[in-house]
């Protein structure tokens, strides 16, 4: 592998990792607050992609002249809003009535919700893959020498970084973020201090789902064939990323996503490319066996 090839793969890996990071953030936040794996999270990502598919031809024509660059931004923001609403609705209808039940009950429900979104999506959108409309021109960014960086990759990087900064701000600097951290730390104590747990949980689901929706749009820019089952594999891989970084840990999820994306791209470019989909799972098993708390996580002793 020449150094150009190496850096090219690195760039591709970073852009794949950016999507995983965005999805992984949702997993991590929900896990932090509710201590359960929201299996349906990958499917919110899929719904985000389909929002982009249906919104783009309806919104873009309204943005002409100097407003042209705002078109994709409008699509992105509207998609994030729709996905946030979807996430909040799922939590209200399916998970909230089960909050006192054993974890396994909630996990099974989450699998049910995931299947419902996937196959309900097949029912509504049709099972055939659709080609994602051109939200923004996709061409190579000039001035990068032998390397190819496409405009969509660049946009994905920029949007991901902006969203990460916004998220960090919300979690660290706002009252809602403080309440989120409090609930994550000790829900009972937070409730006693007057934090409304239901509001915080809804907010967390909304935030995570909005990020997944954004990831759906950005992913579809680079991989423009979308179908209702597209969320399953990225969803599970993003979960692996979240575990890799230490579940419940927000910067950990971002770093985990990037690492996973880079590893996967390098394996995909090697002689073992057909094993690509097994990498994430093998990685997951290795982490859980040797460092279950992840890279940034702290291991906690179980209280009896």
């Amino acid at each position: 592998m020449t150094s150009t090839e190496f850096f090219q793969q690195l760039i591709n890996g970073l852009s794949l990792g950016a999507f995983y990071a965005l999805i992984a953030l949702g997993y991590t936040m929900v896990y932090g607050v509710l201590r359960f794996i929201n299996f349906a999270h990958g499917d919110v990502f899929m719904i985000g992609a389909f929002c982009g598919y249906y919104l783009t031809p309806r919104l873009l024509p309204h943005f002409t002249g100097w407003m042209t660059p705002l078109g994709p931004v409008a699509v992105l923001i509207l998609t994030m809003l729709i996905c946030a609403l979807l996430g909040i609705t799922i939590e209200k209808l399916a998970y909230r009535p089960l909050r006192q039940r054993p974890k396994l009950t909630v996990l099974i429900t989450a699998i049910g919700v995931s299947l419902f979104l996937e196959y309900g999506g097949q029912f509504v959108f049709g099972a055939d893959p659709k080609s994602f409309p051109e939200l923004m021109p996709d061409r190579a960014v000039p001035g990068t020498g032998a390397l190819t960086i496409t405009t969509t990759q660049l946009a994905a990087f920029i949007v991901t970084i902006c969203l990460l900064i916004a998220l960090t701000f919300i979690v660290k600097r706002t009252r809602l973020g403080m309440a989120m951290r409090a609930v994550s730390n000790n829900a009972a104590a937070a409730a006693l201090m007057g934090v409304n747990i239901d509001t915080i949980v809804s907010f967390t689901f909304g935030l995570g789902s909005a990020l997944a929706g954004a990831a759906g749009i950005l992913y579809s820019l680079s991989y423009p064939s979308i179908d209702p089952l597209m969320g399953l594999l990225p969803g599970i891989k993003a979960f692996v990323a979240a575990v890799l970084g230490g579940i419940g840990n927000i910067p950990g999820a971002a770093v985990g996503g990037i690492i996973l994306g880079v590893i996967e791209t390098f394996v995909g470019g090697s002689a073992f490319s057909t094993y690509r989909d097994a990498i994430a799972f093998s990685l997951l098993i290795v982490i859980l066996l040797f460092r279950p708390a992840g890279i940034f996580g702290r291991s906690q002793a179980e209280k009896v």
Binding site: V33, L34, R35, F36, I37, A94, R96, P97, L98, R99, Q100, R101, P102, K103, L104, T105, V106, L107, I108, T109, I111, G112, V113, S114, L115, F116, E118, Y119, G120, Q122, F123, V183, S184, N186, A187, A188, A191, I197, D198, V201, L232, I236, F239, V243, T274, Y275, D277, A278, A280, F281, S282, L284, I285, L288, L289, P292, V304
Partner: protein, 343 residues
Amino acid sequence: MKYRHIKKWVLLGAVILSAIGSHFSGGMNSYYLQIIIFIGINVTLAVSLNLINGYTGQFSLGHAGFMAIGAYVSAYLSTEHSAALFKALGTNFFSITLLFIAVLIAGGIAASIAGLIVGVPSLRLKGDYLAIVTLGFGEIIRVLIQNTDAVGGPRGYSGIAGYTTLFWTYSVAALTIYIVVSLIDSTYGRGFLTVRDDEVAAEAVGINTTRYKVTAFVLGAFFAGVAGGLYAHSTTYINPSGFDFQRSIEIVIMVILGGMGSTAGVAFAAILLTLLLEYLRFVAGYEWLPDLVRRIAANRVIIYSLVLIALMLLRPQGLFGRLPRRGIPIGSASKRAKLPANA
């Protein structure tokens, strides 16, 4: 202790019944016969998964992976390595029976070795983590098979002899039920239940929880492997994508619907779901039904998912399961402050 041997008699009766049924199945519509065989295979799968998920309280989402190993190993052996046996014994009823039993057991053993490998991480993980790891194992197995050219890779493996009969399917199902029920009823088998009910307490009274968990995985995987062998020799063609995550979910739904930890319930649910899903095919073809109903009937997974969600909200113990005696009483949740699980 008048009824001490009743289980053995029931097992013997079931085997004889399936032999009689098998004898008369020659004139049967081959479509119905296939469905009846699938029911038997699904009963075996569901009952064996119930040992892991229901009785031992682990949550495995990779049962289709064990089934795949059993299917591929037994199909490969019976297709590629049967020539020597037939040469020595001639191709007759006896040699075929011998071969079939041998390849089914070989498939089961291969699957149980995989079960051992999956069982080891289960020592450290529980609940949702274990679910994801077993799911991952299932997918890894599928990817490995897809990359094995000797068994056709992604094209699938065809030309498997159709040895599976009603007799074999139902004898295996009866034997699985017999072994699981006898095991759980035995003194040794109570250990599985203690691991499920309270691992810490079990360990405190000297129960080797590690060994029980691994045993559950190895045994459950063995029967799944045998069921996979039956499946392969029934359809005569197998494909890696037939053993994906969705297949695992199907088996999990049978266990949950029947009630985790109730063998009779799980077997009943396997029969019910297999029949129901076949019936839906007909519903999808009824011209007089509204288009929407027919389209929903054609998409079986929507129905799965709704069954799962409704079941968890309304009757989490399944049709025949019992509620755990310990813990927060279900139904009072609405009156309490709804705190997350980490409270």
